[in-house]
């Protein structure tokens, strides 16, 4: 995952570097003793203001400002990046983000953060352009990815049973994800019970029951078509009676624009009172990922996100989109068909991988 975006981003970093370098222009000329005002040419009138406030105490006026600027150019060798210098690479960055399934609004936000960070920033001529650009990109990505979430730590520090409700639209992989999570928690020494709350889709109960058998965990199930809230209530009761650590509650896939189904989910939430609502969506989803993540968050609430099918798609844009839109951490990535194909999500590691470690 993220391979595609990674190579794209690295190209673009170079582009940024080049544009900024070009804007800086006569890097070498500055070495000459005469204070040639050449470097000014490419930059707008804003420069003196920013500079005077940054390097010189306020009361001093234009003449002083100019001297200060010259000083900063020559002695401190600082350059200021203007918006004009980075328009082109920014556009290219936007295209790269879009091609990698980062939703339109979200890529707008990233571009915004980048601009905010870069425009008007000072750069010491000595420091490499790459450092500046990389730092800005890191900052922007970390801002949208948010903080990570440690599931093991969460279960340890909360009263058991920890009740986890899984939600999401149809076909994103909720049931498979539950099986993987069960496996993950079990491996980390917790006891798990599953609730077969998808009573709607044909075969769903069989599917989760089969997973439970293979994993050697208990599943609480009613008949197809029964009330999911009742099944999940029973599951929680079972967990309490048997001192189980983690309850994983499956639900039927539903579309966020079906009012009845969403209120059913709300009812389930009221009845079983989950500690965590985990919203499951797939890494290959495009712009709609943002719409439905937002609706699920608004209508029934979401505490964390699990992103499935991350192995299908080397891009990973949906992760960025969803995290930015609802501001909730990503808990796990699903990366294949086996029970072990589940990875806790760590934003910093992802960003490191995308733009190269901080250095």
């Amino acid at each position: 995952m993220f391979e595609g975006l990674k190579s794209k981003l690295q190209n673009i970093q170079k582009k940024f570097g080049r544009s900024i370098e070009e804007a800086a222009g006569p890097d070498v000329v500055v070495e000459a003793p005469s204070p040639v005002p050449q470097p000014e040419a490419g930059r707008p009138a804003v420069v003196p203001d920013t500079l005077s406030s940054a390097t010189v105490p306020k009361p001093e006026k234009k003449a002083e400002g100019f001297v200060a600027k010259v000083r900063s150019l020559i002695i401190e060798r600082e350059l200021i990046i203007s918006e004009k210098d980075i328009v082109e690479p920014l556009e290219e960055l936007e295209m790269a983000l879009l091609e990698n399934d980062v939703a339109l609004d979200v890529s707008d936000a990233i571009i915004g953060y980048m601009k905010e960070d870069l425009v008007g920033s000072h750069r010491k001529i000595g420091t490499s352009v790459d450092t500046v650009v990389t730092a800005a990109l890191r900052g922007a990505l970390l801002r949208v990815l948010g903080e990570g979430f440690d599931p093991i730590d969460y279960v340890r520090s909360h009263e058991r049973p920890v009740k986890i409700l899984i939600t999401g639209v149809n076909g994103t992989g909720k049931t498979t994800s539950i099986a993987k999570m069960a496996h993950y928690f079990k491996k980390n020494g917790f006891s798990v019970v599953l609730g077969a709350g998808d009573t709607f889709r044909a075969g769903a109960i069989d599917q989760i029951a089969e997973h439970a058998t293979r994993l050697g965990v208990k599943v609480i199930q009613h008949q197809e078509g029964s009330d999911p809230a009742a099944v999940l209530y029973d599951t929680v009761e079972y967990a309490k009676a048997h001192e189980i650590d983690v309850v994983l509650a499956d639900t039927a896939g539903r579309f966020h624009n079906r009012k009845n189904l969403m209120s059913q989910l709300d009812k389930i939430r009221r009845v079983m009172k989950p500690d965590l609502v985990v919203y499951v969506d797939e890494a290959v989803a495009g712009n709609d990922a943002v719409v439905r993540a937002k609706d699920f968050n608004d209508l029934v609430g979401t505490d964390a996100v699990m992103l499935t099918k991350a192995d299908m798609d080397p891009r990973g844009g949906a992760a960025i989109s969803i995290a930015q839109t609802i501001g909730k951490p990503i808990l796990f990535l699903g990366t294949g068909q086996g029970y072990d194909d589940i990875v806790p999500f760590c934003p910093e590691r992802v960003v490191d991988e995308l733009v190269g470690a901080e250095g």
Binding site: T172, A202, G203, Q207, H211, N257, A285, N287, D288, M312
Partner: protein, 438 residues
């Protein structure tokens, strides 16, 4: 989000509408908002760029035909380019055939397989289904439950792990069956073993059709996945599923353009009957979030043929139940109800989103009620008295309240139409459309 998007598109169009010559800046603004709309709908970035280039070029170079304003001219170009991109609906014939279903995990293959079985069954063909998904637990149970509901025979074995064996035996079992549909396990482009498996299935079954199932929400990845599937088994049709959500299905366009095939069906709902043949116009409307592109394009064709627009009697205030019947019929053919409603003269009243489900069934009922009326009643609804209401309600098998509700709806429409007269609203276009279905 979508609303603001389509309104920015409309604003851009409005700017063009005021102009007499094509203005480069205005065209560029339109193309930009069009790009945003398409990107938001998950259409492949490269396709969007190609499309917007050719739209820009044509809008600036081509002269608008006589009698057509600039807005319509530009919209027509947009529409034509989009239609060209979509390549029309894929072919579906009602003959002896085997269909192999392929797609990513969770795209809706199994549900769609059952829906397809139902579709062919309703067309009077003998259908059999083979469950070659030997991996996902519960897959056989799911398909057999769905098929049992509509009495379609299914072949499969939840205990057997060899999909090829099942397909081989299934094909033998269904030798006498007209339509055989093979449901397969979900797989994706990077899983070489599974890609090889579907190549093998394809060789054993020698299906007439190999259809790719695409989730409407699938993003930029669609092109890559479709390319790989196409290399493996030569996809000749694309099915879009989950169109009842809010996703626009732009990913399917990438799939179509990669596979050089067409979209055959659209799945939009949870029940087994929720499968529709693909309709390019409804699809474009959805992509762009605006409903009147085709109507405009049609009007454009008419203007070009130098046809006289005949002013319908309705515009002079004569609007009978018969007209309304035609209108409802048109509505049924026109795809997403929400956009249709935005074209109906409801006096700009706001309809809450969840009213649409109810409304479409209600429209069906209105039609049934009108079927029980006499010609005289249809031409002149004034004569419908209490006793006639009772007769109609008995004939249609509905309650008298339903008949009265219909009459009320008719009066609202009539009033709205009268109010609309003279205004520059899209009435002419709308009337023309009704005229077409006569």
């Amino acid at each position: 989000m979508l609303d603001s998007l389509s309104s920015s598109l409309k604003d851009a169009l409005k700017k063009i509408a005021g102009k007499t010559v094509v203005d480069r800046a205005a065209v560029e603004e339109l193309v930009r908002s069009l790009q945003r709309a398409l990107l938001q709908a998950d259409v492949n970035v490269k396709l969007v760029m190609q499309l917007s280039q050719s739209i820009k070029r044509r809008a600036l170079e081509e002269e608008p035909p006589k009698g057509m304003n600039l807005r319509e001219h530009v919209l027509r170009i947009v529409y034509q380019e989009l239609v060209a991109l979509m390549g029309g609906a894929g072919k579906v014939d009602l003959s002896q055939q085997t269909i192999l279903m392929a797609g990513l995990q969770g795209s809706g293959k199994t549900t769609t397989t059952a829906k397809l079985a139902r579709y062919f069954q309703r067309k009077g063909l003998k259908v059999g289904v083979i469950c070659a998904d030997t991996f996902r637990p519960g897959a056989y149970k799911q398909l057999s439950t769905l098929c049992a509901k509509v009495n379609v025979p299914i072949f499969g074995d939840p205990a057997e792990k060899d999909a090829l064996l099942i397909v081989r035996e299934g094909i033998k079992r269904f030798a006498e069956t007209e339509v055989v549909i093979i449901d397969t396990q979900g797989r994706h482009a990077l899983e070489d073993d599974l890609i090889q498996e579907i190549i093998d299935i394809n060789e054993i079954a020698k299906p007439e059709h190999r259809w790719l199932v695409i989730d409407a929400a699938l993003g930029q990845q669609a092109a890559e996945q479709a390319r790989r599937f196409n290399e493996a088994i030569e996809i000749d049709g694309v099915l879009i599923t989950k169109m009842d959500g809010t996703a626009k299905g732009g990913g399917a366009l990438s799939a179509v353009s990669e596979t050089k095939s067409g979209i055959v069906f659209i799945g939009a709902g949870e029940t087994i009957d929720d499968l529709e043949r693909f309709d390019p116009d409804g699809f474009i409307s959805r992509l762009l979030g605006m409903g009147d592109l085709k109507a405009l394009a049609e009007r454009a064709e008419e203007v070009m043929a130098d046809e006289e627009m005949d002013v319908n009697a309705m515009l002079r205030g004569k609007f009978t139940l018969r007209d309304m019947y035609k209108q409802l019929e048109t509505v049924n053919k026109m795809g997403p109800l929400k956009q249709v409603m935005s074209m109906l003269p409801l006096g700009g009243m706001q309809i809450p989103d969840d009213a649409y489900d109810v409304t479409s069934t209600k429209m069906e009922r209105y039609k049934v009620v009108m079927d029980s009326m006499t010609s005289a009643e249809l031409d002149d609804p004034q004569i419908i008295s209490g006793s006639r209401v009772h007769r109609i309600s008995r004939g249609a098998g509905v309650s008298p309240e339903d008949v009265r509700e219909l009459l009320k709806y008719y009066r609202v429409m009539q009033r709205a139409l009268k109010g609309m007269r003279g205004s520059k609203f899209s009435m002419q276009r709308m009337m023309k459309r009704f005229g077409k279905t006569q």
